[in-house]
């Protein structure tokens, strides 16, 4: 009998952070323009010391100005989607729940697109305009998860197959509306369509959005983490959790809002990247067990690692062309989904 201690939690997080660091360095090195590991290390140190003007080569600029921001974006997006997936799995008591499978990502994408379409018609200051798209995405995510939750109920109970069907149908319905709006309102833009439907990290982030994304992630993931031990008990059912002292409605509300924020933020900057929230929590649960005090931070690191790897592959496998990152995550995630579904039915 050896329960989780703070020391063990931090040790494991440090190990995951080290893996993430190695992945980031490899991702910085790989790409259309070759960079030496030595030059890379020297440039990274110079940037950290605030001496960007002394970068060794022109290639250094490519690495620091183009690859690094994209990798950082991938880290936050991956961590957000993965923590959101872990939370949805506990909240809905369904191991197959994930923002993409449940249609929540599509709802967030639709919300973001509606915000983009509406924004020029509204008189809002440029400062608030930066917040408008993520806000639309959050509302889209929150509305979708509420709709899927109610559609997925049968005789007052959540039924996992009905829930998944409701999510998949919602995703397809919302994608159709996205395509319709993209074609009629924004003009046929294949890159834009691929961005919202498959997810893509190649669009550079506006300076203001970086803050929104960073602060939003820390606040929402932190809020979910405060309920970590409650989520452990919720896995056994709402009644049992209540009898063990969990304030079930409060935990539901916190996790519902925070997971919608995470999905909304991730989707508003990278589109609907699929399966990260499904694949990563399962792998982490397999390695570290299902205690959410360990699982949530592990999922955050794991999501970051997975998306950085997927995006590096997306940049390099068909170079000089590029794939949307969602193509890579779907290629890995969809077979895993089928495997988990089969195992559950068996």
């Amino acid at each position: 009998m050896r329960p989780l201690s703070l020391q063990r939690l931090l040790l494991r997080c440090a190990a995951l952070a080290a893996v993430l660091f190695v992945v980031v360095v490899i991702a910085l090195k790989l790409g259309a323009v070759p960079v030496s590991l030595y030059g890379l290390g020297r440039d990274l140190i110079r940037v950290m010391l605030g001496r960007s003007s002394e970068l060794s080569t022109d290639y250094g600029m490519i690495v620091i100005d183009i690859r690094l921001p994209r990798i950082l974006l991938g880290i936050v997006v991956g961590a957000s989607l993965s923590v959101a997936g872990t939370s949805f799995q506990a909240l809905l008591r369904n191991p197959l729940a994930d923002p993409y499978v449940l249609g929540v990502s599509s709802g967030a994408a639709l919300g973001a697109i509606l915000a983009i379409i509406a924004e020029p018609h509204l008189a809002i200051s440029p400062e608030l305009a930066a917040l408008f798209t993520p806000l639309g995405a959050f509302l889209g995510a929150a509305a979708t998860i509420a709709a899927v939750y109610f559609l997925g109920r049968r005789e007052g109970q959540i039924d996992s197959s009905t829930l998944l069907l409701a999510g998949i149908i919602s995703a397809s319905f919302l994608s159709a509306i996205i395509l319709f709006l993209m074609t009629t309102q924004i003009g046929r833009d294949m890159h834009g369509i691929a961005f919202w439907i498959m997810g893509d990290l190649s669009t550079p982030l506006q300076q203001k959005l970086r803050w929104v994304l960073g602060v939003g992630f820390v606040a929402a993931a932190g809020a979910i983490y405060t309920t970590a031990s409650d989520l452990n008990l919720l896995l056994a059912g709402e009644k049992e959790a209540m009898h063990l002292g969990v304030d079930v409605p409060r935990v539901h509300l916190v996790v519902y809002i925070a997971a919608s924020v995470l999905t909304g933020l991730a989707v508003s900057v990278s589109g609907a990247i699929g399966y990260v929230g499904l694949l990563v929590p399962h792998v982490m649960r397999f390695i570290f067990g299902s205690d959410h005090r360990m699982l949530l931070p592990a999922a955050a690191f794991g999501g970051a690692i997975a998306v950085v790897i997927a995006d590096t592959l997306a940049r390099t496998v068909v170079a000089p062309a590029e794939l949307p990152v969602g193509v890579m995550t779907a290629m890995a995630g969809a077979p895993l989904f089928i495997y988990l579904l089969r195992r559950r039915l068996a």
């Binding site: 939690l9 405060t226 008990l233 056994a236 049992e240 209540m242 063990l244 299902s290 005090r293």
Partner: protein, 282 residues
Amino acid sequence: MSAQTAARTSADTARASGEARLSVEQVSYAYSANPSQAPLFTLEATSFQARAGEILAILGPNASGKSTLLKLISGALQPLSGRVLLNGFVTHSLSPKTRAQRIAVVQQESRLLFPSRAWEFVLQGRHPYARPMRFETEDDVIIARNALAQVGAEHLGDRWMDQLSGGEKQRVILARALAQQPLLLLLDEPTLHLDIGAQVDLLDALRRLAAENRYTVVVVTHELNLAAEYADQVVLLQRGKSLRIGPPANVYQRELLEHVFQTSLSVELGSSGRPRVNVLSG
């Protein structure tokens, strides 16, 4: 068991001594699909009391309101009228945390979404005592280990929950309830999926625990003979009405039981001085 006794505040003990610990006062309830229609099920006003160390069985056929009464006692449901007091506090008004420190509920089925080890499961019983973001303390581990020992399940600690037999699982679930260090232990059909040997084991353990730890135990069951053998008091329910409340010898009368359970049976006095029921075929 010093930790067990230390958890009780002196005020609690003072209040509990000499008087009833659990007091169900004119409690009624009604289920209805929508408020404008007549209720689908009603539980008529019911009153009884139980002291520390006492085992009370709620007995009755299916759909007699046993589980509803248990939910009302646990505070999960708010009574339509009347109130349930535990040491003078209304159970429904307690915060979820406080309630879980005083009342432990063992449900019929405990389904897990992801695998967990028995000791992790028992440690969940310490949740009502933990502050958020806190990790289990050394004391929590000792209490959980003691709880496993009290139900004779020390050896099961490292096993996975989904690999335990029905009887073993039920003991681990009971150990989690003990880890809550409650005043009141509520069990909903705890013997449902157990063979007769495991049923006797479980009820022997309950009687011993009630005596040693001064728990008040309320068991919902439809096993007439187990209730007769182990309960100090029986509440006999039929279609939402409590027909008789008292020691088994007073409640177990042939005509009454035949009427409630709709079958012919005989009642005799067993060797233990408690009534024994035989169902007559034909």
